[in-house]
Amino acid sequence: MLLLDIDALTGCLASSACLVTQTTSGFIIGMLLFLVAVGLTLIFGVLKVVNFSHGAFYMFGAYFAMTAYQVTGSFALAMLCGAAGTALLGLVFERVFMSRVYGSDVLMQLLVCYAFVLIFDDVVRMIWGPEFKSMGMPAAFQVAPLFIAGGVVPPYYLLLIGVALVAAVILGLGLARTRIGKVIRAAAHNPGMVSALGINTGLIYGGVFALGGMLAGLAGALAAPVRSLTPGMGFSVLIESFIVTVIGGMGSILGALIGAILIGMIRSFGSLGFPLFTEGLMYLFMVIVLVSRPTGLFGKEVA
């Protein structure tokens, strides 16, 4: 049994072709994960709830995109529908259900979220059926892959990485530089004070949840052409997103980005060097981070 294949790993690190292919492969896995994880971390940072139903937004994003693509035939519109549809869903979900359990203990919040994991899966089953679906790659991207320094890079994945990076930059700048960003950060820090200043915190909470849902939905929409769609597809993505947020630090956007890329690289290079231990490697890394920095790489001490 090949537990450790150092030759494959060093051989790859020495070849530019392999290095390029595996690095982009790591980025693809990482950037989709980032979009899901950043929503999770944002919602936690502001609302102080762990949204266990976050995977469902990823799933809905994919299904919305597929349906929009089938109806309109436009890829751009499909992405838009995936993102906008889940944003709306997030807003409604937060206002109607989540807002009722903010004061409750963690177990209550967990139960509500878990209930909705099951309900959302069944809703998808009712609307789209239990069998797996495939959206198909838009014709514009059905082209030969690019060869960069001998490495294989599919054009669609370049777009995917680009969109995710743009989302990361807009989000980071928006929170740091704009007035709305400041209000959101203030609400995260001291919601009572923000409310006393005459700002509608309910609106901010709903908005943040919608934003988180939209990012997960966008990830689902971007993944739809290359991953099969099934009820319950959000679950495995959610697990990895949790690993990302634990590594990066709960509530930190930069942490989510770095954490997601690290996980992507571990999967990509781990599958060469440790073919039977790629999954374990992710958890091992998480344990190391937790032991050495319990708040995560970029997490702040809980106030």
């Binding site: 693809i28 069998e131 099969s228 099934t230």
Partner: protein, 419 residues
């Protein structure tokens, strides 16, 4: 703190009474056996990721039951199907099977479970002695291992070792013709994936000894992303790739490998490709993937098979699956055996089933046989071909040779210590 006893019936007494009641209602399935209708129980997977296959099993059974009932049922008794969801969990499958017999009064079991559940139901059949037909488990040991053998259990599914022999010899012929020496494998990391890939490679190397496996990947079952596996295979630069990924995992893999142009760089052998569940879902099916036949209505290329596939589609608005023909075969055999025995009694039907040969749309020569020695189906259509992106999907299927299968199967059984 002291507990005070409320007057009236105690909790313990209530429980005892309920227990006694349950036993009274549960046991007399013997007494109901001579009722007019005959109940046939069927545990299968109707929810979760594999639900589509369970549903297609149910559909096929109902299609055939209609015909049997219209022709008078089993020895004059109309069949009533009792179908329950096991959710794909072995312990649930066993519980449901037991309940179907003991509580619902089913006299025959159609076990439409995947392999994990089938072994659990098999133990129930051993315990209760009820006639049981396994319709979906392809794990060879279920019938090949004498330790598993019981007189009242049969199998109407394919058998893994048959598939491996045919797949291995087909692949070896192409490997020799095209000089494919460096092979990679990529299969899901669980019992089915490991066993099937192992057997396939064994026979491939046996027929083409200079084949070498240079890369193995074992993605986990239901993994959403295969990018790292795809690029790993590209790095290894094999001349051919074998995979027994199936269902949504296979379609994801194809979509993701497609944009890396993997299919133009090597010959791909995917045993589970030629099933309508995968064929109709993949939007950009690459041309020229080698696949085993699972169920397609064009192979065997007979009017009977085409008619059966069309009738199924007309009724359920989708094509049958591999599990569909395996379940339909169970009902066809059951009806014939009952006719031969002129009885609906499980033991008499079992006696008639041993060695029974029936006409079948799914037979390699128009017939299938329930082999007497190990009570498993032989003579079914089995072959390999290459895909095209539209119907009929696999235009030409190269048939496996049952004479070779029997020879190598006997040898395999000996090597396993089964005979």
């Amino acid at each position: 703190m002291t507990r005070t006893r409320k007057p009236g019936v105690s909790r313990r007494a209530t429980l005892a009474m309920m227990g006694a009641g349950a036993v009274t209602f549960a046991t007399p399935w013997m007494a109901r056996a001579q009722a007019k209708t005959i109940k046939v129980g069927m545990p299968t997977i109707l929810s979760g990721r594999v639900a589509q296959l369970g549903t297609s099993s149910r559909n096929a059974v109902m299609l055939e039951i209609e015909k049997v009932n219209a022709a008078g049922g089993l020895a004059g008794r109309q069949i009533e199907m009792v179908i329950r969801d096991s959710k794909g969990q072995p312990q649930e499958a066993a519980r449901v099977a037991r309940e179907l017999v003991n509580t619902d009064g089913c006299e025959i079991l159609i076990d439409a479970e995947a392999s994990s559940g089938a072994f659990a139901v098999h133990e129930v059949a051993r315990d209760l002695g009820v006639l049981c037909i396994h319709t979906n488990s392809e794990t060879s040991a279920l019938t090949a291992d004498p330790k598993q053998h019981i007189p009242n259990a049969f199998r109407t599914a394919r058998q893994g070792v048959h598939d491996s022999i045919v797949g291995g010899s087909y692949a070896a012929a192409i490997a020799k013709a095209k000089g494919l020496k460096k092979w990679a494998t990529c299969s899901p990391d669980y019992a089915y994936g490991r066993d099937t890939t192992g057997e396939y490679v064994t026979y491939l190397k046996r027929f083409a000894p200079d084949v070498e496996i240079i890369s193995e990947s074992w993605p986990k079952l239901f993994q959403p992303d295969y990018t790292e596996v795809v690029t790993k295979i590209l790095q290894a630069k094999p001349q051919a790739l074998y995979s027994c990924l199936w269902g949504g995992d296979l379609t994801s893999y194809i979509d993701q490998a497609n944009i890396y142009a993997l299919f133009s760089q090597m010959e791909v052998f995917a045993v589970n490709m030629a099933d309508y569940t995968a064929l109709t879902v993949v939007k950009n099916l690459p041309k020229g993937i080698h696949s085993g036949n699972r169920y397609i209505k064009t192979y065997p290329a007979t009017p009977e098979n085409a008619a059966w596939g069309d009738a199924y589609k007309a009724k359920y608005n989708e094509y049958p699956t591999n599990w569909s023909w395996e379940n339909a075969t169970a009902i066809m055999l059951l009806a014939e055996a009952s006719k031969k025995a002129n009885s609906a009694d499980g033991k008499k039907i079992a006696e008639a089933l041993r060695g029974l040969k029936i006409k079948s749309p799914f037979g390699a020569d128009g017939t299938v046989t329930m082999r007497a020695e190990d009570q498993t189906l032989v003579g079914y259509a089995i072959g390999w071909g290459t895909t095209i992106p539209q119907e009929p999907y696999v235009p030409q299927v190269q048939a496996g040779d049952w004479k070779t299968i029997f020879e190598l199967e006997a040898e395999w059984k000996k090597s396993k210590g089964y005979t």
